[in-house]
């Protein structure tokens, strides 16, 4: 993996980020990563994991919004704005 060719994590889709994360975990587990580079790759994996977590949380918030809306007053299905105060 040429580290300089990597996409910025924040621009990646969930599927792409998860796929790359799985590849990184596989490489670490198989011991294919040189020691001197392993932390760079680990940190990339950590950023990917955080990005996936954030995307999952956003998706959960959307599901929650739809469910609550269907319960009583339908309020639409637009994504929940992260900045909206609760």
């Amino acid at each position: 993996m040429a580290e300089t060719d990597l996409k910025p994590v924040e621009e990646m889709t969930f599927e792409a980020a998860l796929k790359e994360l799985e590849q990184i975990v596989n490489r670490l587990e198989r011991g294919e990563v040189p020691l001197a580079e392993s932390i760079v790759i680990y940190e990339r994996g950590d950023a990917l994991k955080k990005h996936c977590d954030a995307l999952l949380k956003q998706a959960e918030a959307r599901v929650e919004k739809i469910r609550v809306g269907a319960d009583g007053k339908p309020t639409g299905t637009e994504p929940l704005d992260d900045d909206t105060p609760f």
Binding site: L28, R30, G31, V33, L35, A36, Y42
Partner: protein, 310 residues
């Protein structure tokens, strides 16, 4: 009883390409820290090269010959023999002296001349497997030292405690089916080299306690107190060898564990207590990793200062 420090300018002569983390300055930084007044009580001895036959107590004989043969003749040349590992013209001789330092320390401690010893050596050893170099390591100094204690001094059981932030895959692989050597390791996981899961237990002689990234003192203390120390007490070693890497320090560039000097001092003290209970206090500590010069030298100093309280 005094503490022995094996140090030798030869350990700065294993050369690596510019920018390589496992560099000669690591030794210079440790020697500078250990030249402070408070270390005046150390007995210092230079290393003595061991032989290919002694190296072969932990490695396939032909592997030792391969390392010798792969060394370049030209003093200015550095050859790569593995993803992370390099040889210069002096490397084979330096590696024989690193393992020799470990054997010298074992002889001095097992012979009763010193309570304990620290060897400021490189190249490190714990990634080197029986028949291959790996992760900056050529010869497995810790296993060679353990077998020296058994072969020359009649030790029955030797424990190797490895707190380097990377798992010692080489040590684990070599002692996998040797019940006379306990290998107990704390390390960040997942991280290089990929081994070190708790399910890897050898013949019941391997205790792996992985730490998640961003772990710090509480997690390390728990790993040590709840897993490593009980395993050592159950094993009842005649000698404790420490694979003392200091790359779990918070400053280290190659890992994400947040230990400080005082954590290494405390772990040292705990191992000294176990050694006093079972092994007449005998500890031989061997430098492994540690790539931030400040974190490395201050941690090594805290470790050695604690050893000196024996």
């Amino acid at each position: 009883m005094p503490t022995l420090l094996v140090q030798d300018p030869i350990f700065t002569q294993h050369l690596v390409p510019p920018g390589h983390p496992e560099r000669p300055d690591r030794i210079r930084a440790i020697e500078k820290a250990l030249s402070a007044e408070r270390f005046a009580g150390l007995t210092r001895r230079p290393a003595v090269a061991t032989t290919a036959e002694v190296i072969a107590t932990a490695h396939r004989e032909s592997y030792v010959e391969e390392v010798a043969a792969a060394s370049p003749d030209d003093a200015s040349e550095i050859v790569q023999i593995e993803a992370d590992t390099y040889l210069c013209a002096m490397s084979y001789e330096v590696a024989l002296k690193a393992a020799g330092a470990a054997c010298l320390a074992v002889d001095a401690v097992m012979g009763g001349e010193f309570a304990n010893a620290f060897c400021a050596i490189r190249p490190p050893g714990h990634h080197a497997e029986g028949d291959r170099p790996m992760g900056f390591c050529l010869f497995n100094n810790a296993v060679i030292a353990a077998r020296q204690a058994q072969r020359v001094h009649g030790a029955e059981r030797v424990a190797i405690v490895d707190w380097d932030v990377h798992h010692g895959n080489g040590t684990q692989a070599i002692v996998w089916d040797d019940p006379s050597i306990l290998y107990a390791s704390t390390h960040q996981m997942p991280l290089y080299p990929g081994t070190g899961a708790p399910s890897e237990t050898g013949c019941g002689n391997i205790v792996n306690v992985p730490l998640a990234a961003e772990s710090g003192s509480p997690e390390f203390e728990a790993a040590f107190g709840e897993r490593i120390l009980p395993a050592l007490n159950a094993f009842v070693p005649d000698l404790i060898i420490i694979s003392a890497g200091f790359d779990a320090h918070w400053r280290d560039p190659l890992a994400n564990i947040n230990l400080s000097e005082s954590d290494f001092a405390q772990a040292t003290e705990q191992l000294m207590e176990v050694a006093t209970r079972h092994a007449g206090g005998k500890i031989v500590s061997l430098l492994e990793g540690g790539y931030d010069l400040t974190g490395l030298s201050e941690s090594a100093a805290a470790h050695v200062a604690t050893l000196m309280t024996a």
